[in-house]
């Protein structure tokens, strides 16, 4: 076979599957037909392909024994009832897809959180300040607006029941 013949091997393989009606497109059929008129080697090759295909298609099948299905079932039953192994639990393909809704929910929650500022208006700030005024004096310990001297005075003079809003010295 020449190099040109080798390029026709795929077409010969296909043509062998329907000798009377090659399953090729028009261009392939014309190309192969033209080549076969002058190439005995390829004609022999096509005959060989056709013969072997027919032999294989007629090969008597080997069936599974009557006991095969039962033995497969018996082998599977312990698998069906067992808990997943550590290797299976760590198999990312088993749990990755299940985390997709969780990941999506987290993305949405983050997007909502970033889009919602803590205080948007002066009214919000006033409300927050008024609320802070109702806090017990001990809350001053957590405030960044209180100087050390003011905080010391507050701790020494105020009682536990006093509210921040009623105690002088607390910066607003």
């Amino acid at each position: 076979m020449t190099t040109n013949c080798e390029t026709l091997e795929p077409l010969l393989a296909r043509a062998a599957e329907a000798p009377d009606a090659w399953p090729l497109d028009d261009g392939e059929r014309a190309r192969l037909s033209a080549h076969l008129t002058s190439c005995e080697s390829c004609r022999d090759a096509l005959a060989a392909q056709t013969e072997v295909r027919a032999l294989l298609a007629a090969r008597p099948a080997l069936d599974a024994s009557s006991a095969f299905r039962v033995r497969v079932r018996q082998a599977l039953e312990p698998e069906a009832g067992r808990a997943p192994s550590l290797a299976e639990l760590l198999d990312f393909r088993r749990w990755t897809w299940r985390l997709v809704p969780v990941a999506a929910a987290m993305v949405v929650a983050t997007a909502i959180g970033l889009a919602t500022p803590l205080a948007e208006t002066d009214a919000d700030v006033v409300a927050m300040t008024e609320a802070a005024a109702e806090l017990p004096v001990a809350a001053a310990l957590y405030s960044t607006n209180v100087t050390d001297e003011s905080l010391l005075a507050l701790m020494l003079t105020a009682s536990a029941d006093d509210r921040l809003g009623a105690v002088p010295g607390e910066a607003r």
Partner: protein, 192 residues
């Protein structure tokens, strides 16, 4: 758009409903899938593993792997194509294991190569079918594994070129070339 195109390219899968139920742990439904494919898988495995290996042992392993791997089956091919992929990989494993034990080069079932006589047929094995199948399988055993897989998938199992290419993850042109060479070699072996 790409997803629609992918979905459109997967043929209608007659096993889809059963696979979905089996994937959820329904062993009875998986048993039905075994019933549908047991003969084909045993027959296919017979052509791919050494004669010393029991094809039903390998076929059982195929179904065991398929049961375990069902959760990773995404339906991008038909269940049949995927099952044969599992069978091909399982047969390759057994082939390699057998080759290591026999210390023979990988690729052919060398202990049954063209220089060795066909397997002896006992006086009881007079059925023409058995003799004919054994003769063909003996020749198949002499092919390189990549050619043997393709010629059996196409000419014995009836897979389309596109399915074989997908199953073996090779281009369609490679399928065609290897198929041509496999048949050509088989012709020489069967006439020897």
């Amino acid at each position: 758009m790409a997803a629609r195109q992918r979905a459109a390219s997967v043929p209608e899968d007659p096993d889809r409903g059963a696979v979905d139920r089996a994937r959820r742990g329904d062993l009875d439904t998986f048993d039905e899938l075994v019933r549908r494919y047991q003969h084909r898988i045993v027959n296919f495995v017979r052509t791919q593993v050494p004669r010393a290996v029991d094809p039903e042992d390998v076929a059982q392993e195929v179904f065991l792997r398929a049961w375990r791997g069902l959760k990773t089956f995404r339906g991008q091919s038909t269940f049949k194509t995927w099952l044969y992929q599992v069978a091909t990989n399982t047969a390759r494993t057994h082939f390699a294991r057998h080759s290591r034990r026999q210390e023979e080069p990988a690729g052919t079932l060398a202990e049954e190569g063209p220089d060795s006589p066909p397997p002896a047929v006992s006086p009881e094995d007079v059925e023409a079918d058995v003799i004919r199948r054994d003769r063909i399988d003996h020749a198949l055993a002499a092919l390189p594994a990549d050619q043997r897989e393709i010629v059996v998938l196409r000419d014995v199992e009836g897979f389309e070129y596109k399915e074989i290419a997908e199953l073996l993850a090779i281009p369609i042109g490679t399928v065609e070339s290897r198929l041509f060479r496999a048949r050509a070699k088989l012709r020489r072996l069967l006439r020897a």
